[in-house]
């Protein structure tokens, strides 16, 4: 039997946006994180969710979730960046593991 499928289409937006600081909710650049990375994070959470746990081995995500947790606990990253050391928009993309959009 063919397994049922849900297709997740990425178009960008704030959900895929990145900012230089974890406390910055408005000074971000939208549409930076690829849809594969966004979905990989959800798969990571699904592993410990009884409602969504299929009992199958769950693929380890791109590291996005782990990095975000780390960022949340890291005083070095939570510090508010000032204009002088704020990275250029191109530098807002977190390092490694993210699919780029077209």
């Amino acid at each position: 039997m063919t397994k049922k499928k849900i297709v997740i289409l990425g178009t960008g937006g704030t959900i895929a946006g990145t900012a230089a600081s974890v406390t910055d909710h408005i000074g971000y650049v939208a549409a930076r994180v690829g849809i594969e990375a966004l979905v990989a994070e959800m798969a990571d959470l699904a592993a410990r969710d009884p409602l969504h746990n299929s009992g199958e081995a769950v693929a380890v995500g791109s590291g996005w979730a782990a990095r975000r947790l780390f960022a949340g606990n890291s005083p070095a990253i939570t510090k508010k960046s000032n204009a002088a050391d704020r990275p250029s928009p191109a530098d807002h993309r977190p390092q490694g593991g993210y699919a780029e959009g077209p």
Binding site: T2, K3, K4, K5, I6, V7, I8, L9, G10, T11, G12, G13, T14, I15, A16, G17, T18, A19, S21, V22, T23, D24, H25, I26, Y28, A30, A31, R32, V33, G34, I35, E36, L38, V39, A40, E41, M42, A43, L45, A46, D49, L51, H52, S54, E56, A57, V58, A59, W64, A65, R68, A71, G72, T78, H92, P94, A99, E100, G101, P102
Partner: protein
């Protein structure tokens, strides 16, 4: 393409990578084409779309009017970027998948902050709070709580035969550059004919008036709109009020938008104009 084990297989596809304030017809055409493609696959039970919040209600209404899907098409979003300390996107996406997996779900809906909104009723109502959307008087379709749905009303069903399938196919093959130009003009204190006159001389095909209150218009703006209407330009009245709909009354010279807000009334008008053009072109 990525496959993630779960009760349903999740497939991903990057259709665009834009800030939704910059949404345009080319992306809409491409999105409609991909949504339509996936919905036609028998093993696909639903489609989730991640999207910016700014024009989300417009994309939702465009897809609902064009595709009127009998499977769920669930738009979701975030008010905070992915790097935020308490990002809302991951939970919104999980909620959206829960809706897409729900047996019996259908139509284009939006899921944000645990609330399910229909494409017809939803509107962004806040600049920054996480629960940034409202379904106004109609209220939400339902709620997602701990991965489970609690429905407040039936799934949205659009009027049948809104867009003929042949036109749907033609439209989604387009790059959007030939779609009819429809613009919105607002009525306010001191409004005049200037905006309408400029748009008419620029070749606009349709005008949506974002009217005051129950569809009322400044008399100078109204005179300009009636003149435009008489020259063959399509005109409707929507209200600039957040809640309520324009109630029609005998003697109305400009039709009302049947409860659609100005940006959605514009989309319906564009599709209507395209349909007229399509019918006249394909008539034997």
């Amino acid at each position: 393409m990525q496959r993630v084990p779960s009760p349903c297989e999740l497939l991903t596809e990057q259709v665009a990578q834009i800030d939704s304030k910059d949404m345009g017809f080319a992306v809409w055409a491409q999105l409609a084409r991909r949504v339509d493609h996936w919905l036609m696959q028998p093993e696909v039970v639903g489609v989730v779309i991640t999207h910016g919040t700014d024009t989300l209600e417009e994309t939702a209404w465009f897809l609902q009017t064009l595709l009127n899907p009998d499977k769920p098409v669930v738009l979701t979003c975030a008010m905070r970027p992915a790097t935020a300390l308490a990002a809302d996107g991951p939970q919104n996406m999980r909620d959206a998948v829960a809706v897409a997996m729900q047996p019996g779900a259908r139509g284009v809906v939006l899921v944000c902050a645990g609330v399910i909104h229909s494409a017809r009723d939803v509107q962004k109502v806040h600049t920054c709070r996480l629960d940034a959307f409202s379904s106004g008087d109609a209220g939400p379709v339902g709620y997602v709580e701990e991965g489970c749905l609690r429905l407040a009303r039936d799934w949205p069903v659009a009027a049948v035969g809104v867009v003929p399938p042949a036109m749907k196919s033609m439209l989604s093959q387009s790059d959007g550059s030939d779609w009819p130009r429809v613009e919105i003009v607002m009525s306010y204190a001191g409004a005049s004919a200037a905006m309408v006159d400029a748009l008419v001389s620029g070749g606009v095909r349709g005008l949506v008036a974002a009217a005051t209150g129950n569809g009322t218009l400044h008399h100078e703006l109204e005179a300009a709109l009636l003149q435009a209407q008489a020259s063959g330009i399509e005109v409707v009245r929507a209200t600039r009020c957040v809640d309520g709909k324009v109630l029609p009354k005998p003697g109305d010279t400009i039709p009302d938008s049947e409860g659609l807000n100005p940006v959605k009334a514009r989309i319906s008008m564009m599709l209507r104009l395209m349909q007229k053009h399509f019918v006249s072109r394909t008539r034997p």
